[in-house]
Symmetry: C2
């Protein structure tokens, strides 16, 4: 039996991630839906999800969703690639509310924009090993060539705040080199941390390569859903967004500031 979400007529977006990376999705949502209240849950006590077994990720994703629904959300956004690729079906069976995630919208966009049908995908080792993008793109057509490359150092480089360092540029260049050699004309950022290095990634993969950013793609779908299903005059712009983290030490707080510049209400979950 499905757990019912609250039947509020006002949209409240709940976003969860294994940690802080989902804040790039929040940034995009606030940019295009500034007046819709938002609740974020970052499971920093159990981050990262990507290296964990599928069953563990599903259980965590279920708990995260329950937390957001109880906190008042009625639209769920899975802003974690590991949870999106492992737990989306399970969550849709379990909960009776609209659930969006960061993988499928990027797949659709990549297929839409590629001209030579050669699509590059970068992500954490776990996301790449799951072959989720390959499977999803091949479902659309067997014609596409997917070149996937794990880039495990990008997350710690972003969390270190090394946005403009020589080492970061060298590492990004090294990671992207095999994709460039194989002539991808489209590159999917398969990790929510990666938009933080979008400029360097664009520079190293080349100006003519399309970059598909999961935070933009999922935010657009949520925008369409909200426009179609809610009377936006009903929204409460004054209601504050709240950011919950299952662990909130000084290190996490410092990393959060690298993602969201303006002051936000951060709480220990």
């Amino acid at each position: 039996m499905k757990t019912q979400s609250t039947n509020s007529k006002k949209p409240v977006i709940g976003v969860f991630d294994s940690g802080v990376g989902g804040l790039t999705v929040v940034r995009e949502l606030k940019r295009i839906l500034p007046n819709i209240p938002l609740i974020y849950f970052g499971d920093t006590a159990r981050t990262p999800y990507g290296t964990k077994a599928a069953q563990t990720i599903q259980q965590f994703a279920k708990e995260d969703t329950e937390f957001l629904l109880e906190a008042g959300a009625n639209i769920i956004v899975i802003a974690c690639h590991s949870a999106a690729s492992t737990a989306t079906g399970f969550l849709k069976e379990t909960f009776d509310c609209p659930i969006f995630e960061v993988v499928t919208p990027s797949v659709k966009e990549a297929v839409r924009v590629t001209k030579n049908k050669r699509i590059g995908v970068i992500g954490t080792r776990a996301t790449i090993e799951s072959r989720i993008y390959e499977r999803e793109i091949k479902k659309i057509s067997e014609d596409y060539v997917i070149i996937a490359k794990p880039c495990p150092l990008i997350v710690p480089l972003v969390e270190e705040g090394w946005f403009d360092r020589r080492e970061t540029k060298m590492i990004v260049k090294k990671y992207l080199h095999p994709l460039k050699l194989r002539c991808v004309d489209t590159l999917v950022l398969g990790c929510t941390h990666y938009p933080m290095l979008k400029d360097i990634i664009q520079e190293k993969i080349g100006k003519r390569t399309n970059i598909v950013d999961p935070s933009e793609e999922v935010a657009r779908l949520v925008y369409n859903h909200v426009k179609a299903n809610f009377d936006l005059k009903d929204t409460i712009p004054e209601k504050k967004d709240v950011f919950y983290f299952s662990d909130l030490g000084p290190v996490t707080q410092e990393v959060i500031k690298r993602f969201i510049k303006e002051p936000i209400e951060v709480k220990k979950a």
Copy 2:
């Protein structure tokens, strides 16, 4: 009231860490105590501990110790710097068995070998921010100058297996540069992953700087304890070591292989 450990007369060493880094401690223990059975617990489902709040780390360390005692260990080694600096006192109050940890032995060794009383410490951001080494060294004497430097990229570089790459050397050099400038003659590796890059660290800090390796220091103390308290003729050399991990996906299994080359018995906890 203290939880009693099993009253076996044969030593069984239980080692826990938040993940795989503690395997460097296992390597040292097996080198000097090859016949003592060992149980390892890596809490990969909740790794890393370092970014989490003190109370969370204490609770996790308690659960890890309970797991090892129930599995038959009667000597506990905390092979995680975050747990060692945050939870050692708490564990010693809670459990009635010998408990060793990776911080204090390195402090003693650093103080023993330094000649100019200028000691460098490198570790994760959480370990450095905890100022545990500074406090422990200053307890011995206020004369010592401690230069501490967080190096958050070293753990992912090690887990990537980038042992011999140019980027690794550049990053290590960049991290160690301020310590070199300030003339430390002794460098404490304040993270159990770091011994995996000991050669590069030695090269970049300079040949004349003493490197204090926590895995060697704690293993020596455990050795002394075992020699003094057990009749080693009683040990069962044929008993296999067991390595438990709270999560054991393919990524974790790959990283384990970078730490321990020989085949080992690995189990999901």
